[in-house]
Symmetry: C2
Subunit: 251 residues, 2 copies
C-alpha cells in the first residue's frame, strides 16, 4: 500500500522535506491533497471526520495504513529506516533526528522573516517588521544555523580523510547519506530562491553545504523528481519567499 | 550511571520539559550546568572540546553514557520508554512525539512574543513589535494550540466514558499518562505566569488542560520536585516572561 502524504496543494512548504525523502528512495506514495478532491479529503481528516480519531494539528501528516504520523521531523524519523535513508540503529536515528529538529527550527525562522507579527495578517501589513526581522535573520541566524551544518560537514570530511577509505563526500551523519542531507539541499535551494542577492556568496561561505546540495541534485531519484511536474516551483505562498525589499545585504 | 542533562543555569526554559519527565519518574540525573563549574563543562561540550564529536546545536541536550541526544522532543522521545512515560510501541511513541512537536512549535511562538524581531537585541528594543505579536498570539495562537489540546483531551474523556472502565481522567494519549501531559502542565503553568490578566479565564476556556495540570501537580514525583529548590521560579530570562504591557486582553 502506498504511503499517503497530506500537505497543502500549490506549495513546496514543509511537505517538501517529506517528498524529497520519498522521491529519493523511489517509494510509492500518493500526494493526496494534489489529487482531484484531495483538499476536501485532507480537510475532512483535519476535522476528524474520517474516523481516524484525533486529527493531527496541521499538515503535513503521513498515513501508513492505520498509522498517522504528524510533523516533518517525526515523519522522516519514521520513514527513513524504511526507505534506507538512515541506519536502523537507535543512536544514529537519534543523532539524525536532532539535526532534523535543528532544521525544523530554522524553517520556522525562515517563515517568520515574512510574517514576524502574525500569520493571520498579510505580509503587506507587517512589511516594516519583516524588513527588520529579515535583516537580523540574514546577519545572525543564517550564519548560526547554516554555519553549524557547514562545520558539521567539515568534521565529517576530515574524518573521511583520516579513514582514508576514499570517501570524497562528507554527509551530515558522516560517510553515510541520510535524509538530513536531503533537507540541507532543500534549505540551500530555498535560501537561494528567497535571497539571491543577500546570499550571493553562499557557496563560498558554506562550501560543504553547497557540495551536499550538488550531490543531492544529481542523485537519480532527485534528478528525476526535479525534472517532473511533481516538483512545484518555489512561489510567494510557501515558506521561502522572494521579496526584493527583504533580500538586502546585511551589514 | 545517571543521565546528564545540559541546559542553561538560572532558567526553566526548554530544559524544564526534560526535568519534569526525569523528576516524575524519579530518575537519577545530574543537572550539569547547575553544578560548580558546570557552565564551563557545558560550553566545552558545545565547542566540541570534550572529544564527543560533533556538538549539539544548542542546549538542552542529554548524555546517556556515550550517547548525546539533542532537542527537547528528541530527548523525551528517547527517555520516555525508559522512564515508563510512554508505551514502548512505535505507533504510540510516534503519536506522542507528534503531540510534543506541536508543543515545541508553540513554545517557539511563546518565545517570539517578547522577541519578535531578533534574539540578538533586547526586549526593550522591540517592545512595540512585541506588543503587536503578543496581541496576535493571545487572540489567535493560544486558542489554536491550547484549544487543540483541550479538544484532544475531550475526545480522550469521551472514549473513557464509552469504555466504562471508570477512568475519570483523560490524558493526551488516552487513558495512559505520558510525558505529553507533563508538557501540557508546563505550558499551562507558563501561560499563567506570563499572562495572568489576559488568560484569567484559562480554566473555563480549556477545562481539560486545566484538569491535567492539576493532576500533574499532585503526582508524587512532581509534588516533591515543585517543593524542592531544584524547581527554579519562572523569571524574566526564560521562555515565559511576564511583562505587564504585553499581558493585555485581546479583543
Amino acid at each position: 500500500m502506498p504511503y499517503e502524504l497530506f500537505y497543502w496543494d500549490g506549495i513546496q512548504g514543509r511537505g517538501e522535506f517529506v517528498r524529497l525523502a520519498l522521491e529519493d528512495a523511489g517509494a510509492e506514495y500518493r500526494d493526496v491533497a494534489r489529487e482531484p478532491d484531495g483538499m476536501e479529503t485532507m480537510m475532512a481528516c483535519l476535522k476528524g471526520q474520517d474516523g481516524m480519531g484525533v486529527p493531527p494539528f496541521a499538515p503535513p501528516f503521513l498515513k501508513d495504513g492505520d498509522q498517522i504520523i504528524s510533523h516533518v521531523a517525526n515523519i522522516l524519523h519514521y520513514l527513513a529506516p524504511r526507505l534506507g535513508l538512515v541506519p536502523d540503529v537507535e543512536a544514529l536515528r537519534a543523532e539524525a533526528h536532532g539535526m532534523q529538529l535543528t532544521i525544523t527550527d530554522f524553517v520556522a525562522e525562515v517563515h517568520d522573516t515574512h510574517h514576524p507579527i502574525s500569520t493571520a495578517d498579510y505580509y503587506e501589513d507587517q512589511k516594516d517588521e519583516a524588513k527588520a526581522r529579515t535583516a537580523a535573520f540574514l546577519k545572525h541566524r543564517v550564519p548560526k544555523f547554516v554555519g553549524y551544518f557547514d562545520r558539521l560537514l567539515a568534521v565529517s570530511a576530515e574524518r573521511g580523510v583520516k579513514r582514508g577509505d576514499g570517501a570524497d563526500q562528507a554527509f551530515a551523519l558522516g560517510d553515510r547519506f541520510t535524509y538530513v542531507d536531503l533537507s540541507l539541499f532543500q534549505i540551500a535551494e530555498g535560501l537561494a530562491y528567497a535571497f539571491p542577492r543577500a546570499l550571493a556568496n553562499f557557496d563560498d561561505a558554506y562550501p560543504h553545504v553547497a557540495a551536499v546540495r550538488e550531490t543531492v541534485r544529481q542523485r537519480p531519484g532527485i534528478a528525476a523528481y526535479l525534472a517532473s511536474d511533481r516538483r512545484l516551483a518555489f512561489n510567494q505562498n510557501g515558506i521561502f519567499r522572494h521579496y526584493p525589499e527583504l533580500d538586502q545585504i546585511a551589514y
